[in-house]
Symmetry: C2
Subunit: 206 residues, 2 copies
């Protein structure tokens, strides 16, 4: 069985990563997301194990100690993290796992994991980044804070494997699909076992 | 100016590489082929500098000595080679150069060049390989010889970056396009210079 890989997608806030991730999950076969863990309280309607695994602070810190998180971060005082076991389960089934995480998370994953493809989504312009935040309904103060973070995150672009400019969403989506699908054609994802042909299989295995 | 790269496409005889290469050159923008050198005599209608650069044995051997060939091979007593200068010219213009060469040629290119993407095209079955040779009009003796070579070449698949199975030609073409286009999204092919936006450019350059 050929294993899947982790696809990391990062972008500054307002970069359009959530919209694109949802489109990819719908359109790319064998690309899945996993349920992440958090210590934040469930909002009305949110279901444990579906929206998040809701954990207490103590439970989350225990998971970190056990090395059960591939990456985690503290955002506004709450823990958010990617459970290693869930990711490995999907990868072993041959699925690619899409993780939408920030630069810090990408760095943690790269330290812990070899087979990762990292993609950095950049907005076409700084103005457009502000526009998108406004459209989302962010306040001036939120925008100011997010832009500070965006400025820091943008500097990390060289650490990623691929850069996609999110100007026209359809085009960005096609670019992301190309990266994910071409990655599956890498030699390490091929095995002569995949071939129906016995002679060819034997020739290639020797 | 972002440079292009060399795309190496190899396949055993009858693997369909010529057909696919011609389709790619037609459909993929900024993908070019270059005129190669040979010591074989021009056939009626063949034009020097278009079909090949026709060289004498002495001229070709001089080029080898000068290191002017990225790779070369002797086939049926004639030299065939890829002129380094022509490749560099296209790459410096930002074009990708498609080279349809064998395993030996791929190895030479990899020794001399860093920015190369190598793709190995494999037939869906051994039977299909024989069928394609027959359709092409190869004699039994030619088929026997070519199959011996194909057997040797097939063993080299692990040395390539990507593997594409040429079962349905349309599908194989799409796979090849994906590899070539996704490769252009690699971080090393990006520069903030490409962005029209001044603020973003300055942020990313620092």
């Amino acid at each position: 069985m050929i294993k899947g890989e982790i696809i990391v997608l990062s972008a500054p806030a307002g970069g359009g990563k959530t919209t694109l991730a949802n489109l990819l999950l719908k359109e790319v076969p064998k690309l899945v997301k996993i349920t992440t863990c958090t210590t934040r309280k469930p909002r009305p309607g949110e279901i444990n194990g579906i929206d998040y695994f809701f954990l207490s602070k103590e439970e989350f810190e225990q998971k970190i100690k056990e090395g059960a998180c591939l990456e985690y971060a503290i955002i506004h005082g709450n823990y958010y993290g990617t459970p290693k076991e869930e990711v490995l389960k999907e990868i072993n089934k041959g699925n690619d796992v899409l993780l939408v995480i920030d630069v810090q998370g990408m760095r943690q994953i790269k330290r812990n994991f070899k087979d990762v493809v990292t993609i950095f989504l950049i907005p076409p312009s700084f103005e457009e980044l502000i526009n998108r935040m406004r459209k989302r309904g962010d306040t001036d103060e939120e925008i100011r804070k997010r832009l500070e973070t965006a400025k820091k995150e943008l500097k990390a672009w060289r650490e990623y494997d691929y850069i996609v400019i999110n100007d026209i969403i359809e085009k960005a989506k096609e670019d992301l699909k190309r990266i994910i699908l071409a990655n599956r054609l890498k030699t390490k994802r091929f095995s002569p076992e995949l071939l129906g042909d016995k002679i060819l299989k034997e020739l290639m295995e020797n």
